[in-house]
């Protein structure tokens, strides 16, 4: 199976995530002036907050290598209108520095102005780093935890065995639900993230009556497998809303809501269920197949939204084929 992390858009290997801004670079007439140029630029147009961007690059050409220096970074050093004026000057072969007094002492060392694009956000992944290099050189400090998460290499063979057995249990649970009602084709399993003990197994009860409050048996349209699993966890802690009678096993444990718990669910949960997991502070979610309108990758990525108070790891693709056959 093909395990994939559901990560925030800021990690995506796309041009949008790099946040490229229009900037102006130029060639240095002689390498010996490089230090005085850098000193002058540093004093007048510092790169504060853009420590990842290199100020100088080597451009290889048939006439030999030359050094190119980044003079202005758009939005940081210049407003869009100022940049536009400089660009127009460049087109008419006028030096874009004519009107800029502070750079008088280095003007004569600079030539061949060109517009460039600079990634103003530091690359978060190696893929982003490699994309950045196509535009302007930057530095990259790899965050091992992020890299492992992105390429799913944080799991050992033993972890894969655990994931497989838990998802198999979720598939069996879905199969048990299907015997009760053909529409009940989703299974969910909640385990303790450390001990891997099973806290709850649940299937979809949308069309299977359970007891709401005192004695009234109702098929509840919101009793999706994940919602039922969350309520079974609550029940195991002395709470819970519904009585599933002999439909599902209700265990005892002492966790607070779903902190430190991992959910295995055969299909990507809907928006309601994803947000329910977020409110419950779930630690991790593994799901099998995607679901149109789902909240962990298909329509939203609720586990990655900075404005929300809990973020957590979600992986798709566990026993995907088996799950998709349900």
């Amino acid at each position: 199976w093909n395990l994939q992390t559901i990560y925030g858009n800021e990690y995506s290997p796309s041009k949008a995530a790099l946040n490229l801004v229009k900037s102006i670079a130029c060639s240095i007439v002689n390498k010996k002036f490089a230090s005085i140029i850098l000193k002058c630029l540093h004093e007048n147009y510092p790169m504060t907050g853009l420590q990842h961007v290199k100020r100088i690059r080597t451009v290889k050409s048939t006439e030999g290598d030359c050094l190119q220096v980044l003079v202005f970074v758009g939005t940081k050093h210049l407003h869009a209108s100022e940049l536009h004026v400089l660009e127009t000057n460049m087109e008419t072969k006028k030096s874009p520095l004519d009107s800029i007094q502070s750079l008088n002492e280095i003007k004569e060392y600079l030539t061949s102005f060109v517009p460039v694009q600079v990634p103003i956000v530091p690359p978060l992944t190696r893929e982003q780093f490699e994309m950045c290099q196509l535009y302007w050189p930057v530095s990259f400090h790899e965050n091992k935890a992020v890299s492992q998460l992105m390429n799913c290499s944080l799991f050992t063979d033993a972890d894969y065995c655990i994931m497989e057995s838990n998802m198999k249990l979720a598939i069996q649970t879905a199969a048990a639900g299907k015997l009760m009602h053909p529409s009940a084709n989703v299974g969910a399993v909640v385990v303790d993230s450390v001990s891997n003990s099973v806290i709850a197994t649940a299937y979809d009860l949308r069309n299977i009556p359970c007891e709401i409050n005192k004695g009234i048996m109702v098929a509840h349209p919101l009793n999706h497998a994940t919602m039922v699993a969350i309520d079974l966890v609550a029940y195991s802690q002395g709470g819970g809303s519904y009585n599933y009678k002999d439909l599902l096993k209700m265990n005892d444990n002492s966790n607070y809501i779903c902190t430190n718990l991992t959910l295995y669910v055969t299909r990507e949960p809907c928006i309601m269920c994803c947000m329910a997991l977020l409110h419950s502070r779930i630690k991790r979610v593994f799901y099998g197949t995607s679901f149109v309108g789902g909240g962990f990758g298909s329509s939203y990525k609720l586990n990655t939204i900075k404005e929300l108070n809990h973020r957590f790891e979600v992986f798709q693709g566990v026993l995907e084929n088996e799950c998709s056959r349900l």
């Binding site: 809907c270 928006i271 947000m275 409110h279």
Partner: protein
Amino acid sequence: VFIMCLDDASIKWMEVAFNYAEHALTNGEVPVGCVIVFNNSEELAVGRNRVNELKNATRHAELVAIDEALEKINSQLWRNEHPNITDSSEVFKNCVLFVTVEPCIMCCAALRAMKIPKVVYGCNNERFGGCGSVLSIHSDKLLDSSLGPVLSSIGGQQTLRAINLLKDFYKQDNPN
């Protein structure tokens, strides 16, 4: 800011919702209350937060009220009173939810899944709001197939009263 003015009946329903929010506060729950109104006239169900009591973070006022509504419309008494209604799923299509705080992302999705067409609420929910504050789950047409029809929403009813209740709760929580 344009605030939609409610008719007298709706103002009365907001009052009911606020009563339940106060009820939540005295019971140590986040003070959010709501009422589901059927056919513009009948109080179908009320709800207030029961997260702490039920140890279930999904027990928001709206979901608690939906449980109560389902229980009620499946009871023999209610069926006797409404002999013309044969399918309980038809009931929710003729309901409006009045709630003191903008429904969260989960509750917005739940209201759509129940096919409740309209929500009237008090203050915005800047932390979790699904009617525009954090996400616009209520109006996202791409969720029609996974959830249900879009939800129309009217906010800004007695905003200060709703906020003050929340402030009272968090004051209790943090005496310092």
